[in-house]
Symmetry: C2
Subunit: 220 residues, 2 copies
Amino acid sequence: MEAKLDDHTCHPDFDPAFRDRLRTLLAWRRDVRRFRREPLPQVTIERLIGIACLSPSVGLSEPWRFVIVEDQARRAAIRACFEHCNQDALRLQESDRASLYARLKLSGLDDAPCQIAVFADRATAQGHGLGRLTMPATLDYSVAIAIHTLWLAARAEGIGVGWVSILDPARVAEILDVPKDWTFIGHLCIGYPEEDADLPALQRQGWEQRQPSAGVVIYR
Amino acid sequence: MEAKLDDHTCHPDFDPAFRDRLRTLLAWRRDVRRFRREPLPQVTIERLIGIACLSPSVGLSEPWRFVIVEDQARRAAIRACFEHCNQDALRLQESDRASLYARLKLSGLDDAPCQIAVFADRATAQGHGLGRLTMPATLDYSVAIAIHTLWLAARAEGIGVGWVSILDPARVAEILDVPKDWTFIGHLCIGYPEEDADLPALQRQGWEQRQPSAGVVIYR
């Protein structure tokens, strides 16, 4: 049964073929670091953000804030921030892993045509505080989930997303001149990927591998 | 083109019909608080957790830990913790909203046949620390995203999920006797929903409404 967004009486069912495709989408979503340079239309970016806004949020607070970074000087400053943080991280690696770390490609900041820094507005009045009194970080979780929604919608269009976290949050907020109550959650590189894969890049490069899901379940 | 998980050379494309269904799934995913009591098969829960483990995680750390809560005494203790925290939240509501707050149904703890408390293992060695040096909370974000993946996979099977955050994280960890390095992210109620909807319950109940996505985008 097909459902339209404006038809509140039509309840969608999802068939096994859809569920199979959804699983394929989840399996082939990747943290992309190698992008082709062709630009993304602005309408595409806005559509993906619109879909991201269908995400759940604590108390319907919708705390996600998307900062589309276009200015070349700001992009260069974020690139420099990444380099600085990544050098620190390299120095802290155990000696037997440092050379492997140095070979990893950890961001697509040079090539991705679109960059979006995503923040959580910790001061938003929307939602009237519901659900976040004991767990204020649920605002941040809501934003992380919105990023994930955008990521899946992008991949379904053949567009890749890479999440850069090797950054100093305070410095990113300063570079982008955002309100002081905004907490930095992640910096996204978005564009058409150079390749598709169903294994994480870090696994293919020998850094780490996935573990069986049975090992992360306990009963109480 | 169909892709199998074990075929690394077959790159999936997703057609407009799939993207349309994915958007419908995102629009009809709900934070469910009213459940039918019929049980969920254990194999279903394990399948949903397996799908959740396809989620992205910082440095491939896979920090998600799923605690399936079956013991009736522990369930009652979590129910009591929710009641306690919810009374505190009610007292802090502005007077003109307190009566509306008191009428909201904010959890399905009484009826949901399956309850899973989800934690982030902040001490995991997996991933060798990659990507989280400057932003350790990315471990928590990874777990929030895994919850979202489980949520979408469940909804695609007609199963509802409700995320309870009106809880004291330290008390939940104590009730469930989990390792001290595990950070509580959310408590999930899972089961067949009493109804479907494409509008958030908080919007239908007059608590808050969604805002246009254009209002959460800025350019820099």
